[in-house]
Each structure stands twice: as C-alpha cells, then as structure tokens.
C-alpha cells in the first residue's frame, strides 16, 4: 500500500490542456475521490497515475518513488475500468489468474490466490463461466477481483459503478467501500456523481477544466467551498448564490442584502465590487419577522423535507425546510440565514473570501 503525491501534474493533448498543473496528496489507505463534470481532466489524471498516459510535465510519487514516466506494467497499480474490460476470450477464473501469471507466479499458488479472492467477493461459483454471460454485478465483482488479486500498491477506479443500473449501484457502492475498509488499500476513484463522492470518499478532489478547484474531506468541501464552482457542483440542490454589490473589510461580520443586514463568519480579507452571498438550502429559514422578503415560486415535496423556490431581490433561492411547514406558492415570506455557514465569494474570480469559517481550507490570495 502506498502514499501517492501528485506535483504540478500537467497533460496536453496537442494544443488542448487536459490537466493543468495539479498538485495533491493521497495518503496511504485513503479512499480518494476525483470528482468533476465530464471533460474536467479527472480520468486523464487517473490514467496518468496508473501509467496509461504519460504526463507532459510534473511528478508522480508512488511510495516516495518518482514514477511519472514509467510504463504501467512497472508501477504495480491495479485499474478497474468503467466498462470492466474483462478479457472476453477467457473464463472468470482465467481473468483473475491472468495478472498473477504475468508476475511469474506458479499455477498452484495462483489458483489458491484466485480462490481466496473469489471467496472475498462471493464469486466462487462462477469461476468456470465465460465472462460474456455474467450479470453487471458479477462483472463488476470479477473486475474488482482482478484488481485485488495481485495486492497492488494502489487501486485506480474509473467510474466503476457507472455501468450499473441505479438500484444496484447503491448496493455495489457499499460493497466497494466495505472491501476498501477491509483491505485498507489506497484507492483513487473517479466519478462525476457528487453524491457518490460524498458517500464513499475519505477525501475529494474537485476538478474543473483541468484545474483542481478544491481538495479536502467531504465535510470541508461541502461546508467550506473554495470556489463558486465547487459550491455549485456539490450538494443537491446546490448552494444558493445571492449577488450583491458591496465591500468587505477584515474583521467585518455582517453584510447588507437589499437593505437587510445578515451575519457572516468574521472576514479575514478585503474585497469590493460584485460579491456573492453563498448559502446552502438547508441553512435558509422562513421567519415573517425578517425584513428581507421573497415570493414563493414553487415547492417540491421530498418526503421529510421540501425544496421551496423563492424569488428574492438578489436572485432565485432554494430552501430545504421540513415538510411540516406549510407554504403556499405566491406567498411572501421573510428569510433568515444561519450566519456561521455563509461563504462570501468574489463574483469575477469565483473565489471564496477568507473568513473564520474557511481559513484552514481557502488559501490566501
């Protein structure tokens, strides 16, 4: 098992920059999520760690060793492909044995190892079956088995649940996470599904347009987004952005929205011009005493909670409130926000302003 350090990693495809100067550290035994919309460079980053693409520049340290220009076969990393990529001309057992044979392992030893892995994954019964007729879940298990059988330094997974149907995905995600906890193997996992990333990851890297937007624990990324992109990408519904013109000085802990004053975490930096007031839907409350008012446009019933869309002087906003609260479309309501959860952004750059809330995760610019 290994620690993986990525430093200034860059990949160009001709003129196109797929990954731009990324740096982050994946600690030993971590379940690490690479999250971002399609085309953001997350898969390219994963493939560079695995050795399927060679970086244009930058370093990859695997267990302290610089491996960025080494071929995949010399890195001792396992890869689970989105389409599983089981060798179609081999049976399940042969698929599992194949990585062991390449290491020169004897037949008896390899068979014992395959049996052991098959037991962990619950696929002992299908070892003699061709891979063609397997169900999605079994294919997934065989693909995982092929990855773990070799006991590699780290696992790379490229949207391994993407090819499964929604119902089964949930189940497989749990199985995957349990397997990881049991083996304690460093795992790098690519996904575009923010829920999956939050649910399974120890740490998340959020990428956009080849740039690492933020890197941290799911809680940090959710509560203390470093950029508007992250705030928008993570969470469903995503963070509300209320734009306002104003200025922020160090030490300030209130801002004014349309004449109403709202508390915010104590600010560390200074900014002025077009700013954005970011608040998560669950931190929006309705209080008729509040001077800041909006009109209810729509409600969406979700069982225990409901999502209410409110038109405010600073733009539309979604609130997640208990279903027991009765709201009617067209009604005017007063709004309150939980002050300690607010993140302010600079609108032009999309960066979060530093405050007591996020000073540990947001860099000084």
């Amino acid at each position: 098992m290994a620690e993986i350090i990525i430093e200034n990693l860059q990949k160009m495809f001709g003129e196109f920059t797929a990954v731009q100067s990324s740096s982050f550290t994946i600690e030993d035994g971590e379940f690490f999520m690479l999250l971002g919309p399609s085309g953001c460079g997350k898969t390219t980053t994963l493939r560079m760690i695995a050795g399927l693409e060679l970086p244009t520049s930058g370093e990859i340290y695997l267990d302290g060793e610089e491996v960025s220009q080494r071929p995949a076969s010399q890195r001792d990393i396992a890869f689970v492909f989105q389409m599983f990529a089981l060798y179609p001309h081999m049976k399940v057992g042969q698929n599992l044995r194949y990585p062991l044979i390449s290491q020169g392992m004897g037949r008896a030893e390899a068979n014992a190892k395959v049996a052991e892995v098959a037991k962990i994954l619950g696929i002992e019964g299908i070892l003699d079956r061709p891979v063609g007729g397997l169900s999605g879940g079994d294919r997934q298990r065989v693909a995982l088995g092929r990855a773990i059988v070799r006991e590699p330094k780290a696992f790379m997974m490229d949207e391994p649940l993407g090819a499964l149907d929604a119902e089964f995905r949930e189940h497989m995600a749990e199985e995957l996470r349990a397997l990881h906890d049991r083996m304690g193997a460093t795992t790098v996992y690519v996904t575009h599904d923010q829920l999956e990333a939050m649910q399974m990851g120890d740490k998340i890297v959020v990428m956009n347009h080849g740039v690492v937007e933020q890197f941290g624990t799911p809680q940090d990324v959710y509560d203390k987004p470093a950029t508007m992109f992250v705030a928008d990408f993570i969470g469903a519904p995503s963070m509300n952005f209320l734009t306002f013109a104003g200025s922020v000085r160090p030490g300030q802990d209130t801002v004014e929205l349309d004449g109403a004053t709202f508390g915010v975490p104590r600010q560390i930096g200074a900014a002025q011009g077009d700013l954005v007031f970011g608040v998560r839907p669950e931190h929006v409350g309705f209080d008729d005493a509040s001077p800041y008012r909006g009109r209810i446009d729509a409600t969406e019933y979700l069982g225990t909670t409901q999502i209410v869309t409110v038109a405010t002087p600073n733009g539309d906003l979604k609130a997640r409130i208990p279903s027991s609260e009765v709201v009617r479309e067209g009604e005017s309501v007063g709004l309150t926000f939980r002050a300690e959860t607010i993140t302010l952004f600079e609108r032009s750059s999309g960066r979060a302003l530093r405050s007591e809330l996020n000073k540990e995760v947001v860099a000084d610019v």
């Binding site: 076969s73 492909f81 390449s102 092929r146």
Partner: protein
C-alpha cells in the same frame, strides 16, 4: 396499432425455401457442371445434347495426373497386363503412361504461393493495422489513403514494369517473387479491413493487460489477437481467394518452377486434343483448398462481414 415480430407462416417459409434453393441451383450450376465433366469420358463431355446421366469415369483425373504416349496395337498387346486401374483406362485409348504430369507440382506451387502470400499479408497487415488503430502517427489519414490508392488501378496496368523489374532482380518465375507480388496487392485490403476490426476492439482490454504487468507486445498478441481472430479469418479468406485465383500475373511472370495452377490448367487443352474432363478435373481439385479453407473459417467469416453492424 401495435406491431410485433411474428414467426413466418409455413407458407412463407416454403416460399422462401424455394427461392433460396432456386437461386442456389442457378449459382451452383457451373460448379456442378465442372464436377460432372470431370467424371465423364472425353466423348461424353462433348456429346450433343449434353449428357446429364452418364457412366462415370476417372479418365479425366488419370489424364490430369499423367503424361501418356500412343503406342501401336501390336506393342500394346505385347505389354504385361495393366498394374492398376489408371493404366487400364489409358490402354483402352491405345496409350501407355510414361510418367506423372506437372499438375501436382503446379498445384503445390499454388499452395506455397497462395498461403505464403496470405500469411505475409495478414502478418504485415495486422501489425500495420494495429499501429494505425492505436498509435498517433503523423499524416495517418494520408498514409492510409496512400495505402488504399495502390488498389485504385488494376494491378495488371503495371504488368510491364513489374515484368522488367522482376527480370532484372531475378524474381521472375520464383516462389518468392510471386509471394511478394500477391502480398503487395493484398496488403492494402488487409490493412484497411483489419484496421476496422481492431478499431472495434476496446482499448481497455489492452490497457487492462498493461496494468496487469504485460508489455505492449504481450498485450497485443495475448489480448488483441484473440479478439481480432474473426477479422483476421475473414481477411485471410479474401487474400487467399485473390492469390489463389490470380491468373494474369501468373501467366506473365511464371512459366516453369513457380508456375501456379491457374495458368497450367488451360495448357492441358493443348496436349492431345480438347481433353475437357482433365481440365474439369484440374479445376475441381483446384477449387478444393479454398473451399475447405472457407468452410473451416466460415463461422468467423459470417461474423466477420457483419462485424460492427451488430454489437455483441
């Protein structure tokens, strides 16, 4: 209104079956005629009206494989009794066998040249197709077009330059010369067909092999080749059919040691009258290898020509 796929009625099946059989009869007619003629006696083969029911004879096959000479009835009577059925047939025509014909040798030439050039075309074609499919190659599209463009003129248009070139290089009438020539003609077809097949094989299979600790070449022959077997088989059939049946270059460039069967078979006509049964016998034997080869690979061929249209 809803539609569903229903099984054809017995009547539709009967109609379709009849159509197929009729069509097969029409297309198979020449083959059947050749097969029949091979087993006729020379008088039967040219009788008018043509004989459909006849007394089968092996005379054509005997004549194909032997050279014979006419002897006087007295000499014939003085000979010991015929040692085998072949001598008996020949003596009935007042002739004796003086040795084997060149057909066996020419047939072997065809086998060597046909299969040799097919192997070489497929070998080179697979490697080239793999490179074109997987690697970034400068001017890839232009190169592919250039390779295809070698097929845009009839090969025979360059017959005279090739004839002169082969004479200078000493490749005329050699197995190597013919193998190289047929390979040159087939290679563009092989590269294009195989590239299509290899393009269809997901890269992930090789990448999985690379990750599993195999080198690029190992990944190629352990993972890509088995996947490409279908495409290789159908391409091989096309290459073999061309090399096997090629006539014009064979006439022009071979006369002795490397002469293939196609230019040889018609020369039988010149020896001692129009021996149609011998020609037909030669044609029948000549057809067999391609037929056997195609039947052996037919499962792949059927899948091969529909490859890409239907996803597995």
């Amino acid at each position: 209104m809803s539609y569903s796929i229903t099984d054809p009625s017995p009547r539709q099946k009967w109609f379709a079956g009849t159509l197929v059989i009729l069509y097969a009869l029409i297309t198979l007619m020449p083959l059947v005629w050749i097969l029949m003629t091979g087993f006729k006696t020379p008088p039967d083969s040219i009788s008018y009206p043509p004989k459909v029911i006849f007394q089968p004879s092996l005379e054509g096959y005997v004549n194909l494989f032997t050279t014979r000479t006419r002897v006087s009835p007295d000499d014939l009577a003085a000979l010991p009794p015929p040692a085998n059925f072949a001598e008996e047939i020949v003596r009935n025509r007042d002739m004796v066998i003086v040795g084997p014909s060149k057909f066996g040798e020419r047939f072997m030439n065809s086998v060597i040249i046909g299969f040799g050039s097919t192997f070489l075309s497929i070998f080179l074609g697979t490697l080239a197709a793999y490179a074109f499919s997987r690697y970034k190659i400068p001017l890839k599209d232009d190169l592919l077009f250039f390779i295809l463009s070698t097929r845009m003129m009839p090969p025979i248009a360059v017959a005279i330059p090739i004839f002169l070139m082969y004479r200078t290089l000493g490749l005329s009438d050699t197995h190597l010369g013919m193998i190289l020539l047929y390979t040159a003609v087939n290679i563009s077809l092989a590269v294009w067909l195989l590239k299509g097949f290899i393009d269809e094989i997901p890269r992930e299979y090789e990448e999985a092999a690379l990750i599993d600790g195999y080198t690029r070449f190992q990944a190629f022959y352990k993972v890509v080749l088995p996947q490409a077997a279908t495409g290789i088989a159908s391409t091989a059939i096309f290459c073999l059919i061309f090399a096997w049946n090629e006539y014009a270059f064979a006439v022009l460039l071979t006369s002795g040691t490397a002469q293939t069967a196609p230019p040889f078979i018609p020369t039988i006509i010149g020896v001692g009258g129009l021996d149609w049964p011998a020609v037909a016998a030669g044609a029948t034997i000549f057809l067999l290898p391609v037929m056997v080869f195609t039947i052996l690979l037919r499962k792949h061929l059927l899948r091969g020509i529909t490859f890409g249209a239907v996803r597995k």
